[in-house]
């Protein structure tokens, strides 16, 4: 039986793991129980800063601490990080201060809270900022590993985590496999490459099973880092498979699909089908229901793969 876990739990665990580094500080905006920074707060209250419900202030408090030698990890819901976009732009990205922002509850998969809480544009907006690393891991193990690595990076970052549990795809015994900026080919195939991030990685693996039953061998990649994009891996997939699908719980505008498209039009080109939220807002529903009505679930990814192959 596949273990199920939420990526936000991996984030919370990583903060605890990082606590031995006395320069690590945690900033909260009244959502630590949800983003899972609360574990750090309970263990290290002296290094946890409550910013109240004030995301704009929180990010710049982080900037001031980063400029003073600290390593701030700030978190809130993905949707509320967007409220502080200009603080991230002018106060963090521009002076290149290593503040690490985590937006949990991203995507329509967030579910019943409805469209106001379902960020479908966070990856896009933060991807436009120079210096900022943008990530969306698929399980708690990789989230934990990537968060741990952030403490050693000199760039600011945005990481989206998810509210709901998804299948755990990595085991704890795979150190070195998960690296910021390096996509991971979970399954190798020659007919089509499915490049996914976040909650749609496991859906893509399911899609690959459906395709295999039809004799189509799909490669499935966990592209947990959208920026910097692993262009070398994309080039290799184009060369080997000749057709690409991207899959993300995010607007088709500006996210992983756009990042891959930007890369292949400037390098080696292949047909690309983008699976993503079709430029519309969500609504209240269960996570699996949301993936279905947004055309993001495994059958939709498989259909996109067939279309991509048909365009070769």
């Amino acid at each position: 039986m596949t273990r199920m876990a939420a990526t936000r739990d991996g984030y919370g665990q990583a903060l605890l793991d990082l606590a031995d580094n006395e320069k690590v500080v945690v900033l909260e905006a009244d959502l630590g129980k949800s983003t899972k920074s609360l574990h750090f707060r309970k263990a290290h209250p002296e290094r946890t800063v409550s910013c109240g419900i004030g995301e704009q202030n929180m990010l710049l408090v982080g900037a001031g601490m980063a400029a003073s030698g600290y390593i701030p990890f700030a978190s809130t819901f993905a949707i509320f990080t967007e409220r502080a976009f200009e603080q991230m732009r002018n106060g963090i990205a521009r002076p290149n201060l290593a503040v690490h922002l985590c937006g949990s509850h991203g995507g329509t998969h967030t579910g019943t809270d409805g469209s106001s809480a379902q960020s479908i544009e966070d990856l896009a907006v933060f991807r436009t900022l120079p210096n900022v690393v943008v990530m969306h891991p698929c399980d708690d193990v990789s989230t934990r590993a990537l968060t741990m690595q952030l403490a050693d990076t000199t760039s600011p970052s945005y990481m989206r985590t998810a509210r709901n549990k998804t299948p755990v795809l990595y085991d704890d015994a795979a150190p070195g496999l998960i690296q910021i900026g390096k996509g991971i080919e979970l399954q190798t195939g020659n007919d089509v490459a499915i490049i996914a991030c976040g909650v749609l990685v496991s859906e893509s693996l399911k899609a690959a099973e459906m395709l295999a039953a039809e004799g189509i061998n799909a490669s499935v990649v966990d592209m947990h880092t959208l920026k910097p994009l692993d262009g070398g891996l994309v080039d290799a997939l184009v060369a080997r498979c000749g057709a690409l699908v991207t899959a993300e719980d995010h607007n088709v505008i500006g996210g992983l699909g756009s990042a891959v498209a930007e890369h292949i039009v400037a390098n080696v080109f292949a047909p690309l089908e983008m699976v993503g939220v079709p430029d519309r807002f969500g609504e209240s529903g269960q996570a699996d229901e949301m993936l279905e009505i947004m055309s993001l679930s495994a059958p939709h990814i498989a259909a996109a793969a067939r279309r991509a192959i048909g365009r070769k």
Partner: protein, 277 residues
């Protein structure tokens, strides 16, 4: 303090000359807010700031955050006067590749602790510096200068509330209350009612002074540094004159962000005692 009132006033006069020269050369920039703040900056830097101009990144330095980052000529002038940058560097104001970027930028100019330019951000950044100092068990302070129009940004009040909540006695704010913002007088754009009462209500120690009277400025800085005010953040509300020191710029909204022409430049140099009439 070994620096006398007269000496600080002379530093401020020299800075005013440089402010007008910078904006005149660039034919762009923000003279009004630079002139209103400069007596405060001259006093702060020459008598209070624990900094090392030859080691601008010294970790235990006091921080100064010019949140009203458009008033950069004033900041550059005092940094040159203190020796962080050269007077020659001042010619790079708004010039491609220059250390004196249009708005103060920590990546470009030694002695600048925060990249400003977007209003409402510096107080939050200063709060982060103050928190870091406390964690480091350091005596260093974070001084932040904000503008009055800037207080219309909601995020200023997020920071005001949070800094008081965290009892940041090492956070010291100077408000340059010059009563004019980009488009017009503040009273016309957005009335702010009882400003001292607002800050008191947010939990701050508050004092008001005349921001061009050097004796009062020194009293105000004493207030910011006073032990009895170390229980939480403090703000010095300095009543100033936008464009202060240049007759035709004073209280004139047109000189928030405009450069003097040739005749106006000559007149300014006469008024500042640089050349004879």
């Amino acid at each position: 303090m070994s620096t006398s009132i007269e000496e600080i006033e002379e530093i401020a006069r020299k800075c005013r000359v440089e402010i007008v020269k910078m904006v005149y050369r660039a034919q762009a920039g923000h003279p009004g807010g630079s002139l209103s703040e400069i007596d405060l900056l001259a006093a702060l830097y020459s008598t209070r700031m624990k900094v090392r101009p030859d080691e601008p990144k010294w970790a235990d330095r006091d921080r100064f955050i010019l949140s009203k980052g458009h008033a950069s000529p004033g900041m550059y002038a005092i940094l040159a006067e203190m020796g962080f940058i050269s007077h020659e560097d001042l010619k790079s104001y708004r010039v491609l590749g220059g250390v004196c970027q249009g708005h103060v930028d920590m990546k470009w100019c030694p002695g600048v602790d925060f990249s400003a330019g977007s209003l409402g951000m510096g107080l939050s950044f200063g709060m982060g510096c103050a928190l870091a100092a406390r964690l480091d068990k350091s005596e260093r302070r974070a001084f932040v200068m904000i503008g009055d129009g800037e207080m219309q940004e909601g995020s200023v009040w997020e920071a005001a509330m949070a800094a008081a909540h965290h009892e940041l006695g090492n956070l010291k704010v100077i408000l340059d209350r010059n009563r004019i913002q980009n488009d017009d007088f503040c009273e016309e754009q957005m009335r702010m009612f009882d400003i001292p009462a607002k800050w008191r209500a947010f939990g701050w120690n508050v004092k008001e002074i005349d921001g061009h009277n050097m004796a009062e400025i020194m009293e105000g800085l004493d207030f910011l540094e006073a032990e009895e005010n170390s229980n939480g953040p403090s703000i010095l509300i300095a009543h100033t004159i936008k464009g202060g020191g240049i007759s035709y710029m004073e209280n004139n909204p047109a000189f928030h962000g405009a450069a003097p022409n040739d005749d106006q430049f000559k007149q300014a140099m006469i008024e500042l005692g640089e050349v004879e009439a």
